[in-house]
């Protein structure tokens, strides 16, 4: 999992049936200082995140399928699984 920040939204009419009725958000991957890196994901949101939120992103298929109840054959990987309140990193 990684910490990201929601930076946008995606609308698609023609898509895999697994994404029908689910929100797709663009998430910047953040570094430890909270700055956006060049990496991003289009992720499925299951926690009602919005643009600007700092979020916890899961990027692993089996876990993602478990979350949306589509084992063993759902074509899903990146999922926003939490909204981050606080992160503390030791010295």
């Amino acid at each position: 999992m990684y910490i990201g920040r929601v930076c946008g939204t995606v609308v698609a009419t023609i898509k895999n049936e697994l994404y029908v009725g689910r929100k797709l958000l663009v998430v910047d991957r953040l570094d430890l200082e909270g700055r956006p890196t060049a990496r991003y994901d289009i992720a499925v949101d299951v926690v009602q995140a919005g643009v600007g939120d700092r979020v916890l992103v899961l990027d692993e298929g089996n876990s993602a399928r478990q979350i949306v109840g589509r084992e063993p054959d759902g074509a899903i990987r990146a999922v926003i699984v939490g909204i981050v309140d606080e992160v503390e990193i030791g010295d």
Partner: protein, 89 residues
């Protein structure tokens, strides 16, 4: 998943078993602002409706095969949606 632009098509008559009927497109991966990022690649079309010029999103690794009608096939990237609208800041 990442954004990509469909830039071409690919036809292969002789191919490994399991790839029969799979539609291949050449796609250029894009960054979040839809600028080219990295090298073009060949993706299977999981939507069956994508074509050259279209903005799509792709999924990689094992999940690519799961986007196709027959899910136990040897592919590593697949198109899973055609983008209508993006709002990224």
């Amino acid at each position: 998943m990442q954004f990509a632009r469909v830039i071409g098509t690919l036809v292969a008559t002789r191919k490994v078993a399991g790839l029969e009927g799979v539609k291949f497109l050449i796609v250029q991966p894009l960054d979040k602002y839809r600028r080219p990022l990295g090298e073009p690649l060949v993706a299977a079309d999981g939507t069956a409706q994508a074509g050259p010029g279209e903005l799509v999103f792709i999924i990689g690794i094992r999940e690519a095969a799961l986007a196709l009608p027959e899910t136990f096939v040897p592919v590593d990237h697949a198109i899973v949606g055609i983008v209508d609208q993006v709002d990224v800041r």
